[in-house]
Every structure is written in C-alpha cells, then in structure tokens.
C-alpha cells in the first residue's frame, strides 16, 4: 500500500500517480484530502484507493473499475459519470451524487443531499441514510436504493430506473409512481443490499418508477406551450 499525502505532493501529483496505471502498485491511501476537488478522478483498472478524510467536489468522477473508499464525507458530484467499479463513502455525500453515472456501484453509508442520482444511466446507488429533494431526477437506468427517507419530488421526470425507498417519501415528482415489487425486484434489491454491506430487509422497501406519460408529446397539452 502506497501513501500519497495530498497536502505534501498536491492534487495533480496524486491524480497523475493514481492514473499512471503502474502494474506493481494496486493499493493507495490518500491522506490529508482537506476537501480538495476532483480527488481520484478518471481512474482506470483494478486499483484500491482509500481517501482518509473528507473529500471535496467531484471525487471519484468517471471511475472505471477502481474501488475507491472515502473515509469521511464527500462534496458535490461524487462519482459523477462513473462507468464501473465501486465507490463507497462512510459519511454523507453532498448534492448530485452519482450524477449521469453509467455503471458500477456507489454506496453512501450516511445521507445524500439533493439530486442524488440525477440523470443516472445504469449505476446502482445504495444510500444507507436519506436523500434530499429531486433525487432520481430524469433517471434513465439503474437502481437507486434509499434506506431512509426521500425528499420532495422523488424521481421527477424519470425515464427508466428503479427507485427503492424504505422510509417516508415527502412527495413524488412528475411522472413518478409507486410500482409493484415482484420477486425479480426483491432479488435484485437483496443482492445490491448484500453487496453494499448494508443491513436492511428488502421486504421493507417500496418501489417507484416511471408512469411513462411524459415519453411522448400529447396533443392535449399543445395549449400549454
């Protein structure tokens, strides 16, 4: 395991080292992150990176295959546009966690703020706590699992994605509705919870998804424009 002291060597050196693809070293710890932006962005390959402290904006963005753990909180845009791999935050995440992410698994053990999973395109997001308003906004594919509560306008303008919430939903957004939870969904939810290491019974969740009424322009609405 190699230690990279961000305070000492700077963000560019930390990221350049992580992105260099050295075949010998696969395990890194980034110390003194001090809330810096874009830590461990654009990683490729089976690296194991631990960020020891609170990360700033856009941490672990565009991740491909790497396993990245933030031991602390993460700022805005965590794991933005992740393609694959695993990102875990032991604390809370700020706004737009997992935005536009295509794949991989994002685990936030604490709470996530507003717009979690905005425009998600295939990522699986598991939140141990609650999510803020407009989470799952325009979600296109993947699973958003919330073990706590969800804020206002959950799943607003959702295309296709599964949203599972165990707690209270403050309100559903436009075109988002509660769906039947069948065995296929229970199995998928159970598997994701297990893989995330989050202890919750899949049977206690409700599923939400798209009512699909916004897919096509409806002539009755012509006067609204």
């Amino acid at each position: 395991m190699t230690v990279l002291d961000l305070n000492e060597i700077g963000l560019r050196t930390v990221n350049a080292t992580l992105q260099s693809g050295s075949p010998e070293i696969k395990s890194f710890t980034v110390t003194n992150p001090m809330g810096a932006h874009a830590i461990a962005c654009g990683l490729q390959g089976s690296l194991d990176v631990t960020i020891d402290g609170h990360a700033g904006f856009y941490c672990a963005g565009m991740n491909k295959d790497a396993t990245i753990t933030v031991k602390g909180h993460a700022g805005v845009g965590l794991a933005e546009n992740m393609m694959s791999g695993t990102v875990r935050v032991t604390g809370n995440a700020s706004q737009a966690a997992g935005a536009t992410a295509h794949g991989g698994l994002l685990i936030i053990e604490g709470d996530a703020s507003s717009r979690c999973g905005i425009s998600m395109k295939g990522v699986d997001i598991v939140v141990g706590g609650s999510v803020g308003h407009m989470s799952g906004f325009m979600a296109q594919a993947g699973n958003l699992i919330v073990c706590g509560d969800a804020g206002e306008a959950l799943g607003d303008s959702i295309y296709e994605a599964n949203i599972y919430v165990r707690g209270k939903v403050e309100s559903l957004g436009s075109d988002c509705e509660e769906k039947l939870m069948d065995t296929e969904h229970l199995a998928s939810l159970t598997e994701l919870l297990n893989r995330s290491g989050i202890n919750a019974d899949a049977n206690t969740f409700k599923r939400y998804g798209s009512a699909r009424t916004l897919y096509n322009f409806h002539p009755d609405n012509a006067g609204l424009y």
């Binding site: 001090m34 809330g35 609170h54 809370n92 700020s94 703020s113």
Partner: protein, 300 residues
C-alpha cells in the same frame, strides 16, 4: 459564483486568534471569487450611547480626523476615529440618525457601510490575502466573522459592490447566488425610502431585510419573508451581534456546508474552507437544508 464563510468561536480561549483562524477560510475561497473580498468582524463592543460606524472612502488620503472633529463640534458629541486603509471606524455618542444625516450632508463621498455596537465591515476589490492584509486583520481578536469572496456576475467590480452589506444595527449579509427580481424590488424599496449605492442584487436583498427589520420584524421573520419575496438563487450568511444565521433558497441551488465542534461553529460554501480549522476532521459536519433558517447566538 462566490464564496462565503462564517466563523463563531464558542471557546473564549480561541477568540484572540479569530483573525488568524478566519484568514485561511477566506483565502481558500479565492478561486470562487477572485475579484473582491469583504469581511464583517465583531469585536470591541462600544458602551452606553456610543455607536460604531464603518466608513469607506475611495481615497486612502482622506482626512478622517478632520471629519471626526467636525462631527464632534457640529453634533455636540464625543467622537473618535481610527483609519484603516480606505476605511475608518468612527465611534460617536450622538443619536445615530443625526450622525448619518451629518455625514450625508457634509461628506457625500463617504460610504457608510455598517453600524452597530461591535460590527466592523471592511471590503475592497482584490484577492482575499491582499485585502485581509491591507486591513490588518490577521492578528485581530473577536468573537465571530463572516466573509465573502466575489466573482461578479451582474454588476460592476467595485468596492461598493463588494459584500458584506449592512442590514441594520450589527447586522450584515453576504450572498452567494443571483436574484432575478432585484430590479423590481429595488424600485419598491426606493419608494419606501431606501437608498442604494450600487446596481448589485445582493444590496437589494440587504435593503429588503433592512426595511423588514425597520418595520419591526425580527431577523428570523425578515428571513422567512425573504423566502417568499426574493426570487432567485441564494445562500445567505447573516452576521448578527451574537452570532450568525444561514439560509438557502427553496431548491438549495447554491452550495453550503455547516460544521460544529465544542470550540467553534463554521459555515462555508465548501468544506475545504473549513478544513483548516482545528479539529475540523472530527467536527459534526452537515449540509443545511433548503429554506431552513440555521442560527447561532440570539436571533433578535
């Protein structure tokens, strides 16, 4: 884009270090607002009938002592003044309105940027460390400070257009965001007798709260009404005599983070501004919810 920060020291033993603890917070927000910097510091409260005024003039050569002597003579009061770069802190025991009227009548080129018992406001065009050093704030003691680094989006880069903006006695506002109905609101506020020094939208927010407080609202009520009447994006930090308040717009468009330990409470646009405080790693850190008023100290 702007950066805002606030720090309240709960631990009295840290208060002699207020200036040095606050500087890295402000400095870290340089990239969010490199064109102007401003702070409000709460220190050295005056006593009795005295009121403290923060004054600014475009020229550092302005003769402030002459102003103080003239004020004392014309208003038959005790008056003292200390020049700090382009600003000066005036303390006078005449009624506040009399002092304000006297300054306006005799020195129209002076900007009165704040008043109260302990607040002092300093703001200038420039980078945080440069402005901080011009006003000699690194070694200052005090209970709390709020600050702003500005990246102007809708009005000129001037000293007058920098934050904080005063909203009443010992009250001032820093703003990250942009208001969309500020022109109409400014017209309404002008009709109600408020005067404006700039085209800045944040000055309108400050004037709005000034009017509400003047009409008898508490700061909390003024902030609640602001949620209804101010249209746009904002995270506000409002400095008060005893602490500060934080408010985000209903969709929480602009970033904000709060952190608290046994020794201090801090707010910032980003955590990196808080990271340099002692014990920040282990602080209780959370993101303020939209349209929720968070306060430290008494909110009168």
């Amino acid at each position: 884009m702007c950066g805002i920060v606030g720090l309240y020291l709960k631990n009295e033993q840290l208060r002699p270090q207020l200036g040095s603890l606050f500087q890295p917070m402000l400095s870290e927000m340089k990239s969010r607002g490199p064109d102007s910097t401003g702070v409000a510091i709460y220190r050295d409260p005056v006593e009795g009938a005295e009121v403290k005024y923060s004054l600014a003039h475009d020229s550092a050569e302005f003769d402030w002592q002459l102003l103080s002597i003239g004020l004392a003579s014309d208003c038959d009061c005790q008056s003292s003044i200390v020049q700090i770069d382009t600003h000066a802190i005036l303390i006078a025991d005449a009624p506040e309105q009399q002092v304000r009227d006297w300054i306006k009548h005799n020195h129209a080129d002076i900007r009165l940027v704040g008043s109260g018992s302990s607040v002092e406001i300093f703001k200038e065009v420039g980078l945080p460390d440069d402005v901080y050093s011009r006003f000699g704030l690194s070694s200052t003691a005090g209970t709390h400070m709020i600050g702003h680094t500005r990246m102007a989006t809708e009005s000129a880069v001037t000293t007058a257009g920098s934050h904080p903006f005063a909203t009443g006695a010992d009250l001032c506002l820093v703003h990250n965001g942009s208001l969309s109905n500020h022109n109409r609101l400014r017209e309404q506020l002008e009709k109600a007798g408020l005067e404006f020094q700039t085209e800045n939208d944040s000055e309108v927010a400050a004037a709005y709260m000034t009017l509400k407080i003047r009409e008898g609202a508490t700061l909390r009520e003024a902030l609640e009404q602001a949620l209804v009447e101010l249209d746009g994006f904002y995270t506000f930090c409002v400095g008060t005599e005893t602490g500060f308040a934080v408010l985000r717009d209903p969709i929480a468009c602009k970033h904000a983070v709060l952190a608290e330990t046994d020794d201090w409470v801090a707010m910032a646009t980003e955590y990196r501004a808080i990271a340099t405080l002692p014990g920040a790693d282990a602080a209780n850190i959370w993101e303020p919810k939209p349209q929720t008023i968070y306060t430290w100290g008494e909110l009168s």
